[in-house]
């Protein structure tokens, strides 16, 4: 059986890649993808912990899995809204570069 640390390390690596991509990338779509990556890294951690908990208690525990479904639903909704915004932004400004979308600057 694969030890939980392997999953958690993979999760941490995925999350860090997501964060790094979020900070580095300028294209909104790429940033969007990096958000999905971070969410899924967290999902992985949830499931890993959930399985570990089942083993420790000797009973089936599904709290983590249920949480993952919630995350996936929210992510789907977010994708729908987010992509709509992306389209709207592109129509208005003809660019997807976040550095040039800075109207909220003080």
């Amino acid at each position: 059986m694969v030890p939980i640390a392997y999953y958690l390390v993979l999760s941490a690596i995925l999350f860090s890649i997501g964060v790094a991509a979020f900070l580095i990338k300028r294209n909104i779509i790429t940033i969007f993808m990096s958000i999905e990556l971070m969410l899924n890294a967290v999902n992985l951690a949830f499931i890993a912990f959930s399985r570990q908990w089942s083993q420790t208690t000797g009973q089936l525990q599904v709290n983590g899995q249920i949480f993952v479904f919630f995350v996936m639903v929210v992510a789907a909704a977010e994708a729908a809204v987010g992509l709509a915004i992306v389209i709207a932004v592109f129509r208005a400004r003809s660019t997807l570069n976040v550095d040039s979308i800075d109207l909220m600057k003080l």
Partner: protein
């Protein structure tokens, strides 16, 4: 409390008139404004008339009516209470009677003014406060009226507030009056501290209970009351506001600054005479102030060229006589002069207003002359008033002024010096009044010259705002007699000025001095008043008549027979002339000694140091600190999404690190 006279209605009706005209008058047609104002001033007059008929049947005097308690604090309480006695009744008659006549006159005088409604609202407001003042049964309610008439006076002096001079005159009157009011306030504090009450009956009762009590605290109270009285009644040292108050419309000068409000000080001294009787020092002060003011103001009156200013100084001078009378404990003589003065001085002002009206707002006597035949009614009524104030028998002024001179001659509080100065003042009064008479009505008409000379600018500056707007058509300068709505009050006041004296016709001349006997219970004095010596009084009356004639004769020579003489005299007596012409530089001295230091402190110490330095500095420092910190933090909001994300990641990592490595507990528990 057997009969209920509804005294509270007397001041309240004009107040209702003020509310109606003040709140709605702007939208009213003029006849409606007129109706409201006249009805609101007529009802008190009718009520006073009704009270006069019932007066002798009143069981107790003073008749007190209490509406309720105003202030209650421990044992001290002040009530809304009104009282009626002989003194109040006399004042009520003067205020409502003269007040109503002047309201009627104003209908004509103010007919062309665009703020017609505002004028009448203020006039009614004045009546409300003045009637409160004379009806009040305690010092506090009297003070309400006292302050209120000051307010009304301020509003009416500055009635044409678009003129700088009028606005400034209003402020000056108000501020100078405040100094007097300070005296009144301190006197009230002393009364509360020592008598625990402000009610007349309580205070006077406590004093009367100790027949031997003299001086001390009573002197202090009396002196502070005198300070208040000098402010309101324009006596030395606080008289400076009254001449400037002539910036107001002429009916205002007649009502407030001649007949009623300025006599409030005299009324107050007479009302509180029980305090003054116990303080010879305060009485002497009053007499001294009175006689000095009378003389001093009369000398200034000689050289004034503005017709209303002559009358203003004359008013100050006549008020000085009233103070002199009170100062020699001849209160009824002072009140008598107050009444007759109200008649002839209101008449003088209203007639002067009629002259000004006839000449389309020309007030300078140098540009009058020869008006005798052009405005005959004004001329004849003015003539009556001039003879009355100059003291020609049997007119009102002669009787009351003579009474004062006689009393100051014989009274132990007075003396021959007071009499002599008073007599000299009477001569000067006669002189400057006839000077005014000759300059206005006799000789060549100097009306046209005003329009060809350099003085054109100053003449225009004097015009009311409503007329300067017009293109100065020649027709407006055609001399015209005033309408009857203005002349009617003149005629009535002229009649009163003739017959008013007979109310107090002295016993020495075969009269009964009814007025003084009527008033006696209200102003009964403990100071010994010598019984009349008929021969002496007759001789003194003769002397003062002669003096009045001398004044007339001098004026006749200088301003009628040899009109070139005054200019020569002014040149040969240059230093003296300059001294008087510049009103003894009192305004300038006050300006340098009081106004300038006060302004300096206000501007530099309070304004720059305290206000701008400490208060503004403190708040500004706080504000700038927050602003600077905010500007620093605001740089985080760059509008760059990736930088926000960076901050978020950084602090999330920091939080994680802190929670992981336990720095939180490390920090908190140390």
């Amino acid at each position: 409390m057997n009969t209920d006279l509804h005294l509270w209605l007397i001041p309240l009706v004009p107040f209702a008139g003020f509310l109606v005209n003040g709140l709605l008058g702007r939208k009213f047609p003029r006849p409606l404004v007129t109706t409201v104002a006249l009805v609101a001033s007529l009802i008190p007059l009718l009520q006073v008339a009704a009270i006069v008929t019932k007066f002798s049947s009143l069981a107790t005097l003073p008749h007190v009516e209490t509406l309720g308690t105003w202030i209650r604090s421990g044992a001290f309480h002040a009530d809304f209470s009104f009282q009626l006695d002989q003194l109040t009744l006399v004042m009520l008659c003067v205020v409502t009677g003269v007040g109503f006549l002047i309201h009627i006159y104003s209908v004509g005088y103010m007919a062309e003014d665009e703020s017609y409604w505002r004028f009448f609202a203020y006039m009614n407001l004045f009546l409300f406060f003045m009637l409160t003042l004379v009806l009040a049964e305690n010092f506090l309610l009297m003070f309400v009226g006292w302050e209120g008439v000051g307010l009304a006076s301020y509003l009416l002096i500055g009635f044409w507030f678009t003129r700088d001079s009028a606005a400034n005159a209003g402020k000056k009157a108000f501020i100078v009056n405040r100094i007097g009011d300070f005296g009144f306030l301190v006197a009230m504090f002393l009364l509360i501290a020592h008598f625990g009450s402000l009610s007349f009956s309580s205070v006077f009762g406590q004093i009367s209970a100790h027949p031997l009590w003299q001086g001390g605290i009573l002197t202090a109270i009396a002196i502070f009351l005198v300070l208040g009285a000098t402010g309101k009644s324009a006596q030395i040292p606080l008289y400076v506001w009254l001449p400037d108050a002539m910036e107001g419309p002429t009916p205002v000068s007649a009502l407030i600054h001649a007949a009623t409000m300025v006599t409030a000080g005299v009324y107050m001294v007479a009302r509180t005479h029980i305090i003054f009787d116990r303080s010879p020092l305060a009485l002497s002060t009053v007499a001294l102030i009175g006689v000095a003011t009378a003389f001093f103001a009369a000398t200034i009156g000689i050289v004034q060229t503005d017709i209303k200013r002559v009358l203003a100084y004359s008013t100050i001078s006549q008020l000085g006589y009233m103070f002199l009378a009170c100062g020699v404990a001849a209160y009824s003589a002072g009140i008598f002069h107050l009444v007759t003065h109200a008649f002839f001085k209101a008449l003088l002002f209203l007639a002067a207003g009629s002259v000004i009206h006839a000449l389309s707002d020309q007030q300078d006597m140098r540009f009058m002359g020869g008006l005798r035949t052009k405005i005959p009614v004004t001329f004849w009524t003015m003539t009556v008033a001039v003879f009355a104030i100059s003291g020609f028998p049997p007119l009102a002024g002669f009787v009351s002024k003579d009474e004062i001179l006689y009393q100051s001659f014989v009274s132990p509080n007075g003396g021959k010096i007071f009499w002599a100065v008073g007599l000299l003042t009477a001569g000067i009064t006669s002189f400057y009044m006839f000077r005014l008479w000759y300059l206005t009505f006799f000789g060549e008409s100097r009306i046209q010259t005003a329009h060809h000379e350099e003085d054109l600018a100053t003449v225009h500056a004097r015009h009311d705002t409503r007329l300067t707007l017009e293109a100065d058509p020649p027709a407006a300068h055609a001399v015209h007699e005033s309408p009857w709505v203005m002349l009617g009050p003149l005629v009535i006041l002229a009649i009163l000025s003739v017959i008013g004296g007979f109310m107090g016709w002295p016993e020495a001349l075969g009269g009964s001095n009814w007025f003084s006997h009527f008033l006696a219970p209200a102003v009964a004095t403990t100071t010994a008043v010598p019984t009349g010596d008929n021969h002496l009084e007759l001789i003194l009356a003769l002397i003062s008549t002669l003096v009045a004639f001398t004044g007339w004769l001098t004026a006749h020579i200088l301003y009628y027979a040899k009109p070139e003489l005054p200019a020569r005299l002014a040149t040969s007596l240059r230093p003296l002339y300059a001294l008087v012409k510049n009103k003894y530089w009192v305004d300038e001295i006050y300006g340098a000694l009081i106004v300038a230091p006060v302004l300096f402190i206000a501007r530099w110490v309070l304004g720059v140091l305290i206000d701008r330095g400490v208060i503004d500095g403190g708040t500004l420092t706080a504000g700038y600190t927050a602003q600077g910190f905010g500007a620093l933090v605001a740089r985080i909001q760059s509008g760059n999404i990736r930088s926000y994300a960076g901050w978020l990641a950084f602090f999330a990592a920091l939080l994680l690190a802190v929670s992981y490595f336990g720095w939180t507990s490390h920090f908190l528990l140390r």
